[in-house]
């Protein structure tokens, strides 16, 4: 027994633990299960979204892998004696992005939210398309709705179903209004800036036509 005392005042056996086992993540020396904070993921995370191969385990061709592959519905490439089992990590919300909201004020400062075609519900619940989790001043469900209309390639904002109000550039939103680049949406204590990806200049339908 090698009794040690950590910076936070916990006693522990230095023979058994390299660092204080009571201080959670701070040790980060061996096999504690820890999460990565969103900020540090950054660009790599986006790279992964665009590269499904990273999510694709490589298997030798054999019956078990083939059966698993069938169950997961993966795209299959039988080149070079190895089966590629596609897909089965499913990146949730992998629909093509049409625009982004970036948090410029609030507890998700610096985070970006993907917008997809059609209606994007904004709220605090993690089931929302744009989930401003943890901000109690944002309604749990459908505080506001951002719409991308793929035929005319325009973005609109409209009020949700909650009693809370939303604002665009500090003007209250009571009916559907067109959104322009750099418009600032305010929901409770959170401010989101709007950036389009799709519009007249570029849209995914354009690529499909070529």
């Amino acid at each position: 027994m090698n009794l040690l005392r950590c910076e936070n005042g916990h006693f522990y056996d230095g023979d058994q633990f390299a660092q204080c086992p009571h201080c959670g993540n701070q040790g980060r020396n061996d096999d504690l299960t820890v999460g990565l904070t969103q900020g540090t993921i950054g660009q790599m995370d986006q790279n992964l979204d665009q590269n499904t191969e990273a999510l694709t385990p490589q298997y030798e061709t054999n019956t078990l892998a083939a059966a698993v592959q069938q169950a997961t519905g993966g795209s299959v490439d039988f080149g070079n004696d190895s089966a590629t089992v596609g897909y089965y990590d499913q990146a949730l919300g992998s629909e093509p992005v049409v625009g982004w909201l970036v948090c410029i004020e609030g507890n998700h400062l610096g985070s970006d939210y993907r917008l997809k075609s059609g209606r994007n519900f904004i709220g605090r619940a993690s089931s929302m398309d744009v989930a401003i989790t943890g901000d109690d001043t944002v309604s749990r469900e459908k505080h506001a709705i951002v719409v991308y209309e793929p035929k005319s390639h325009i973005f609109m904002i409209q009020p949700g179903e909650s009693k809370e109000l939303s604002y665009v550039n500090d003007k209250v939103v009571l009916a559907a209004e067109k959104l322009e680049t750099n418009d600032i949406i305010t929901l409770g204590a959170t401010k989101l800036m709007f950036f389009p990806c799709c519009g007249e200049q570029f849209n995914w339908e354009m690529l499909q036509r070529v």
Partner: protein
């Protein structure tokens, strides 16, 4: 319903396993072929002063003409501060086990798992993390067998394996930072050595309680089980100590006694190597027809 958070009692297997297996395989030639799923589980606290792994698994079950056989297992590895991690794991296991118990076996299982993951994520976020993304949460693996069909769902770095005859296959990916680093290596933006040396490589990028689950492993189509298939759910305590081949050897060496296999897996994970040992938990299911 029982929830194991300490060392589990041996599963209710008949004392004489050989006769048990005979009984299960006896009526294959008749019109109604019986089939069964044997289950077992074990937890080991390792050298930790707390147990953040939690699991629930249904009892061994045999098919009964006219009814649908339903067997499931849920395993979580809590993370974050010691009390919160334990709470997140327990809460997730309790809620999902309850929902699986109530699930209509004829419903769309993959869709159920997807909506359940979103629901549990929100639950842990609100109940344990106080609505904040502060690194408190849990991994999740869930396995559901309906008659002869296997479904799975996994978030985080706890794994699901299928063992068939002499092959073992991990059917899930570890949703940790290494997954992103490997992608960078593949694209030539990072050296493999740099990736391997990264201090955050084990940090999770998708977990229940993150407020926005990025990745889940799920099978859209049912996986049809074959006689003798073993399904293993485990926390990273097992896979950090034992290689896939070592796990396979232990399962094959103890073939026929699943409860003993579960105990041997956690015990050998504890015995392997030096240094501190993480909580280790396993759920085993074996299909017979």
């Amino acid at each position: 319903m029982k929830l194991f958070t300490g060392r589990a009692e041996p599963e209710t297997l008949p004392a004489n396993n050989e006769s048990h297996e005979d009984e299960l395989t006896v009526s294959v030639e008749e019109d109604t072929a019986y089939f069964a799923v044997v289950t077992a589980s074990d937890l080991h606290i390792g050298t930790r002063p707390y147990q953040q792994d939690a699991l629930y698994v249904t009892e061994t079950a045999c098919s009964d003409p006219g009814t649908t056989l339903k067997v499931f297992g849920v395993l979580c590895d809590g993370m974050g501060g010691m009390e919160n991690g334990e709470k997140a794991g327990r809460l997730t296991v309790e809620q999902l086990a309850k929902d699986l118990d109530e699930l209509d076996p004829h419903s769309d299982v993959p869709a159920f798992f997807e909506s359940e993951v979103a629901k549990l994520d929100e639950l842990v976020c609100e109940e344990v993390a106080g609505g904040m993304k502060n690194g408190t949460g849990t991994t999740l693996t869930a396995v559901l067998i309906i008659d002869k069909d296997l479904y799975w769902a996994a978030v985080g770095d706890s794994r699901i394996y299928i063992l068939r005859s002499n092959e073992i296959l991990q059917v899930t990916r570890d949703h940790n930072y290494m997954l992103l680093l490997e992608n960078e290596v593949r694209n030539g933006r990072l050296l493999r050595e740099e990736a391997e040396a990264h201090p955050d490589k084990d940090a999770l990028i998708s977990y229940i309680g993150s407020g926005n689950v990025r990745f889940i492993n799920i099978n859209r189509a049912p996986f049809r089980l074959a006689h003798g298939d073993v399904v293993l759910q485990c926390s990273d305590g097992l896979t950090k100590s034992l290689s896939d081949d070592e796990i396979k050897e232990i399962i094959i060496d103890h073939y026929g006694d699943l409860a003993e296999t579960a105990r041997m897996l956690t015990l050998q994970a504890f015995d392997a190597g030096e240094g501190s040992k993480d909580n280790t938990s396993v759920i085993l299911m074996q299909y017979f027809e």
